[in-house]
């Protein structure tokens, strides 16, 4: 028995806990607090990475051992953690991304010196990492819920860290409310499971679905879907994401978008595969449908955004959708009895989970550096930053390529795996439901194309051309730790893209635990050089080969130039400006202009509205003043949440009559209830 992973994991937990306490002790000394909090978090996260990699590789994780970390105080509540493959995989994710964010925060937090209390920030930062790790490792439903709540509350305090801004406060409240609706559903779901198992330990929940009656089982599934879906940000429960992510400091946004929303994915995977499998068909269909809708709508709304961080937040919704497509397909394959395809789809989903965590954290860290340098989140006021912040621009570009699913980076690998599982799914069942697979594939293709368009916009408007504002013109490159944090994640992106077959070995224990087969040997051909689609009909691709090919082709244009154009002369002149007085930033292509074609195509969804006011003196052709306004309607907010909100207000206003404020009235309520109960009992 390998004792290293459990020991290292306990060290990780201890490290985060020490980080919480140490930061609170340094409330007055902000520099010390910053160094202590970020340093301890980084060390703990590093130990977590090592522990989970070793655990997954050596198979120590398959031992399913339960480690009790605190004595048992209350019946049913055991503070125990279990090192099972799924939990370890997500621990790897939180530790890896947490490490990069901790390094980045070391520099990023300097902007708060003298302005905000960094001791408090450090404490919540560490506690959110600690709680998230515990969520992934918890072995008891009560313990899981406690960790879940600590995570949500710490995140709430981090979102509203800059509480002097009204935007942050409102975002925090929205996050808090949505999060608690989710937690309520989770509690009910666990109670349903408890009815059958008679305990709250996760080992008692394992494969409980077979013994549950259909009614409670489906009810539990729906409750868990809503509960975890809120955290993951599925449409239509996503509304808190584009509000909370931008309002938080950027390292917190990266933490939330990279790690926190993955707890929803973890929960769904745990519940659907481990607890309540084998699933009925409609579970998989539901998850696949929700995933498809989230993916398409997420990217469409992202395209309409000019706020860099809101744009990234909408992309989180899109990517959660892609992950859920993989998970939904896996559930459908499990139902029809295709364990290999189920494993493939599960791998696709989980691979995309870690990919999204890495590149989205990377993009948010880059956005944080940009926002800090330009003092605005509006892309229309940026521009030209590639010359002023070259390192950040490079990292952001890598992240953008990765999230657009372009080869040879990691986003491509996981989306390719998703395609493989969807396209091969068509032959698995004769029923009409198989049309879901090609339809999902088509929607995924649409999503990929739109995402690429969106990141052309995001990168082009933000980093290229001339600066569009004073602030953008005098922007400076971010400091050392910030750049280091970004480069770390960039390297991970490249590794996950170029060496997928190496990484897939880590997923072997997870898929054999949840779907029944380990696929890394089948997926890697030619010594891991080529990635294959698991079955005979699947395709093959080699990102490493593509990258090598690109490197080999690089000299070709140089050679062509050397052969044909060696002797020609080069003349440099200004860009043609139509005879005006030189080019100004006002002539540049704007983000709004760039996304107009798509806005027009999807008019039915966006319901764009624009107002133009023109003032002129003598001729309408020579306007002296022009005002232009353009809006896009957020359908879910205006059509679902606002009516709901209004309804709740109305009902509560009626209920307020009960709250008379008089002591006697309250006493009468209690007394009458007591009397009625007594008479009822006679």
């Amino acid at each position: 028995m390998n004792q290293l992973p459990p020991t290292l994991l306990l060290l990780t937990l201890l490290g985060y806990a020490t980080g919480v306490v140490a930061s609170l002790f340094c409330l007055r000394a902000e520099k010390a607090a910053n160094v202590l909090a970020c340093g301890l978090a980084a060390l703990a996260a590093f130990s977590g990475v090592v522990a989970s990699v070793i655990g997954l590789l050596t198979g120590a994780a398959t031992a399913h051992e339960s480690v009790q970390i605190l004595p048992e105080l209350i019946p049913y509540l055991r503070f125990s953690i279990r090192l099972d493959p799924l939990g370890l995989f997500f621990t790897l994710l939180v530790s890896l991304v947490g490490l990069a964010i901790a390094v980045y925060s070391l520099g990023y937090n300097r902007q708060f010196f003298g302005r905000k209390n960094l001791g408090v920030f450090g404490a919540f930062f560490n506690s959110v990492l600690l709680a998230t790790t515990l969520v992934f490792l918890a072995d008891n439903a009560f313990f899981f819920l406690i960790a879940w709540e600590i995570m949500a509350l710490s995140a709430y305090f981090l979102v509203s860290f800059e509480h002097e801004k009204e935007e942050s406060r409102n975002a925090g409240v929205l996050f808090f409310v949505m999060s608690h609706i989710g937690t309520g559903c989770l509690i009910l779901g666990f109670l349903l499971l408890f009815q059958t198992s008679g305990g709250y330990g996760f080992e008692g929940f394992h494969a409980i679905g077979a013994t549950m009656a259909a009614g409670p089982r489906n009810a539990a599934f729906l409750l868990f879907l809503v509960g975890f879906g809120v955290k993951a940000g599925i449409v239509p429960l996503h509304i808190w994401l584009p509000v909370a992510h931008p309002a938080a400091p950027s390292n917190v946004s990266a933490l939330m978008s990279g790690i926190l929303i993955k707890t929803g994915i973890y929960g769904l995977t745990r519940v659907c595969f481990d607890f309540m499998g084998p699933p009925p068909n409609w579970w998989g269909v539901t998850i696949l449908t929700i995933g498809t809708i989230s993916a398409v709508l997420g990217v469409l709304y992202a395209l309409m955004e000019h706020d860099l961080k809101r744009l990234l937040a909408y992309h989180s919704i899109e990517n959660i959708g892609i992950i859920l497509m993989g998970l939904g397909a896996a559930l459908m394959f499990l139902h029809t009895g295709h364990p290999v395809l189920a494993s493939l789809a599960l791998i696709a989903g989980l691979y995309h989970t870690i990919n999204h965590a890495v590149f989205k954290a990377l993009l948010f860290l880059g956005a944080g550096a940009v926002v800090h340098a330009t003092h605005t989140r509006n892309m229309e006021e940026m521009g030209g930053l590639v010359k002023r912040m070259p390192r950040t621009a490079f990292c952001f570009l890598v992240g953008a390529v990765a999230i657009s699913a372009l080869p040879p980076l990691n986003g491509f690998v996981s989306e390719w795996l998703t395609y493989q599982s969807l396209l091969q799914g068509f032959g698995t069942t004769p029923s009409l439901i198989r049309l879901m697979f090609p339809l999902g594939g088509a929607m995924l293709a649409l999503t990929g194309a739109l995402a690429a368009a969106c990141f052309v916009k995001a990168y082009g408007i933000t980093f290229l051309a001339q600066p569009r504002s004073e602030h953008a013109a005098c922007a400076h490159e971010a400091g050392g730790p910030e750049v280091a944090g970004q480069f770390l994640l960039t390297a991970v992106c490249v590794f996950l893209g170029l060496f997928p077959t190496q990484f897939l070995r880590l997923l072997d224990p997870v898929t054999s635990q949840l779907a029944g087969s380990a696929l890394s040997a089948q997926l890697g051909l030619a010594n891991g050089f080529v990635l294959a689609g698991a079955t005979a009909t699947g395709g093959t691709v080699s990102t490493l080969g593509l990258a090598l090919m690109a490197v080999c082709l690089l000299p070709v244009p140089l050679a062509l130039w050397w052969v044909f154009a060696r002797g020609t002369t080069v003349r440099r002149g200004p860009t043609w400006d139509c005879g005006l007085q030189g080019l100004t930033p006002r002539m540049e292509y704007t983000a709004t202009g760039f996304s107009k074609p798509i806005r027009m195509i999807f008019k039915a969804l966006f319901r764009p509205r624009r107002e133009v006011q023109r003032e002129y003196d003598f001729s309408p052709y020579f306007a002296t003043n022009l005002r232009f306004e353009s809006h896009v309607e957020e359908v879910f907010l205006t059509r679902i949440y606002r009516p709901l909100n209004w309804l709740v207000w109305r009902v509560s206003r009626r209920m307020r009559a009960l709250q008379a404020g008089s002591l006697q009235a309250y006493l009468i309520y209690i007394f009458v209830t007591l009397l009625l109960l007594l008479i009822f009992a006679l």
């Binding site: 404020g661 008089s662 002591l663 006697q664 006493l667 007394f671 007591l674 009397l675 008479i679 006679l682």
Partner: protein, 223 residues
């Protein structure tokens, strides 16, 4: 066949004391003078202590004597003294008109007593001591509650709460042969003690702020 006198006399004593507690409660329901109300409560507590003493004597249960001592010190002496001092300090002698006038409240209390007896009937076989102590206990709780609703002065509401507590104690003594475990009884006792002291301070504050002890004025605090 006569039952043994040793078990007959305690049972009758307990029934007598319980009935006297009920009488004190009914008197309290129609009492306007604050000082008299406090004294009535003290007398009621004295009967409670009597019941506990009988139980302790007839069962040779030492820890019930502790309950007797605590009741005597706390409810018969200390709390009445505390409330008495408060009333004298605030120079308020009379309760103002209650929400429901006295004849009607007497009727309501009668109805509640009936309900108490009805509710207690299925449990009478459990009782070892006295016939109707549980019924009296439930009636005390119900009428105490009604008193709390009916009165406006914070002091009388405190008194009503204390009679509810007396009812709970009586039920504890009556239902279980040896009373509840000592720890529970101590807990309840100190709970009530602390609650009354806090209420006393609050009453004083309410008067300072609103120049009155009328709790219905607290509704001004509502937003």
């Amino acid at each position: 066949m006569h039952p043994a006198p040793t078990s007959e006399i305690p049972a009758q004593l307990i029934a007598l004391f319980a009935a006297l507690m009920l009488v004190a409660q009914l008197l309290l329901a129609v009492q306007r003078m604050l000082l008299t109300s406090i004294r009535l409560f003290a007398i009621q507590s004295l009967f409670l202590a009597g019941i506990a003493a009988v139980v302790a004597y007839s069962h040779n249960a030492f820890h019930v004597y502790v309950v007797v001592a605590l009741t005597l010190i706390g409810k018969v002496a200390f709390l009445p003294w505390l409330l008495d001092r408060q009333v004298r300090r605030m120079k308020i002698i009379q309760e103002i008109e209650p929400l429901v006038n006295f004849p009607t409240s007497m009727l309501i209390c009668g109805g509640l007593t009936l309900l108490g007896y009805l509710v207690a009937r299925p449990f009478t076989s459990l009782e070892r001591l006295g016939n109707n102590t549980l019924a009296v206990a439930i009636t005390l709780v119900l009428t105490g509650f009604f008193l709390m609703i009916n009165r406006r002065k914070a002091i009388t509401q405190v008194l009503a709460l204390l009679t509810v507590e007396n009812g709970v104690m009586l039920a504890a003594v009556a239902l279980t042969t040896y009373g509840m475990p000592l720890v529970v009884e101590l807990g309840i006792f100190f709970d009530v003690l602390v609650a009354v002291m806090i209420l006393g301070i609050l009453v004083y504050r309410i008067r300072e702020t609103f120049a009155s002890m009328d709790t219905s004025k607290l509704s001004q605090l509502k937003g």
